[in-house]
Amino acid sequence: MATITAEPTGVAVVEEEHPLPFIRKYIFSTDHKTIAIQFLFTCLFFLLVGGLLAVMLRYQLGYPGKPMPGGDLLPETMAPGGIILPEFYISLVTMHGTFMVFFAIMPLLVGVYANYLIPLQIGTHDMAFPRLNMWSYWLFFVSGLVMLSSFAVEGGASVAGWTQYAPLSAMPEASGVYAGQQLWMISIAIFGFSSLLGSINYVTTVINLRAPGMTWFRLPLATWSLFITAILGLLAIPVLTAAVIMLLFDQTIGTTFFLPETGGQPLLWQHLFWFFGHPEVYILILPAMGFVSDIIANGSRKPIFGYHSMVFALISIAFLGFIVWGHHMFQSGMNPALAMSFMISTLVIAVPSAIKVFNWMGTMWRGSIQFTPHMLFAVGFVMLFAIGGLSGIFMASTPVDIYIHDTYFIVAHLHYVLFGGSLFAIFAAIYYWFPKMFGRMINDTMGRIHFALTFIFFNLVFFPMHGLGMGGMMRRIYDPSQYEHLAGMQDTNTLVSLSAFALYASGLLFFVMFFWSLFRGKKAPVNPWNATTLEWQVPSPPLHGNWTEIPVVYHGPYEYSHPDMDKDWLSQNERPDVVSPARH
């Protein structure tokens, strides 16, 4: 029997329906849904930018030293005659990593879906601090613009890699980039503040504003993961902000935190960066895991397998994330004894990750699997994340990392987890929640084609990179043909580049489809996927304030295919006297 029998006692929305002026409604809006949509468009734009940078850098690697088609549109300082310069190449790599991590994937997961889903899934009207939420978006927007503008300043954009290792990043005389480096740091400091405001909101909202009956163990896993992610952000990002500001000081007011001549320590930067950086990569994967959990349960028409262990796995991954950062520094000159302990803690993370992967498989087992685009992307996530995670085991082993550190093996790993993992989950989420967000459907067939193309070309781009890495190809090099041991790899590099162009084209296909559906898609019903969680109980798109009456929650989030029922789903707020589910 369900545990809650109380009468629904929600509050009516106290919203005098006077129309808001345009600027308050669409631009400086405090409605979490509008903010989420603002984030969505901004981030997709940055995704396109990041992808374009990737395409350019892949051109150089595929056809070293050849003029890039359309490259003569770029200024002389980047690509004279269309031929990419070495310094521009490193800028491309740096900004590609930066845009993808900070301005595309992370805000897509958190800015978009934490904002959109949390209030709807826990059953409340809005975030705890709507005004801060608005600020969070606009600060993000500004930091993105600052980052983008660094391409236009003299000397070009940052060239120190997305990891900004000091002292290269702190010594303009060594990197040749002055303003670009500083803009990188200023932008990230603003970004840090923006995501701080977001995190405060998400954590407070989940703790305090859950609907009656929405106990901790009735939260959908998407919300759980976003909640844990927000905590990670709260504790990890300030460290980056602090570090970035110190780095900025090193360049501007003459401090010497990371400059060795006067006793500063380059390795301190790496420690601080990765103390943030590893939790950061879990910020990039945990929400993805949450979305995929919701979607796989829905697409398999089955309750999630092992809900509680899924939650505890999330929590332990998050916690372990704080004690493994040193695995990025095995070859950095860090104390080898310390490296040993970092290796152990890193290997431990495979265990909760295994729980997650096998529980997703358990969810599909004896399900009734639907081949909707979101389900395909979610399943694609499981397949590709597993590959990326397994390649992580190679690097976690310190001796093996001696060889593969800073090679394309790492690049393969990071794209399998970030693209195959996070971005696939984001695609799944876009397909899944699009009807709710915009009140329109995306065409299933188009979605399946998009999935097939992305899946195939993704693997063609990134799987061979494992081979390149085993062959010893270093990261961030402009021209591999300089080295004897890399001479035989040009074919592979060209294949990878060609596939990368095709991958980008599949992205453009999605772009077209996205906008087409936005205006021409079929009208979406309230609950197109017969899902159980609360966001599917409000109109598509939901009204301002979400609920006319706060729902009361009676069940866990994944009551699919209950044997006593005809329909195969039972929404979280359906009265228990209608049916009596066995548990939760």
């Binding site: 504790l235 301190l268 704080f322 004690i323 860090m334 104390n335 004894a337 310390l338």
Partner: protein, 90 residues
Amino acid sequence: MSEAGKQHPRYMLVFGGLAVLTAIEVTAAFMGFPRSVTIIVLLGLAGWKALLVALYFMHLKWEPRALKVLAAAPLLPAAIMVVVILMEYV
């Protein structure tokens, strides 16, 4: 928390404590104890003062347990960060 005439903690007592502890600290710093002793004593005193502020001025003493835990939680990653990086030197 908002009933009229609520009993307040003895703020002035806490204030006195903080002032005295500060005075002790400043004196202790220049007493010429062995360095390690000075450091431990000073850190102990500073921790004590910090605790007084948190418990009484920030009312943590009267908050629900969950909030106490929440307030103390970041100390764990903070300590991990500093201590682990310091292990570079051992």
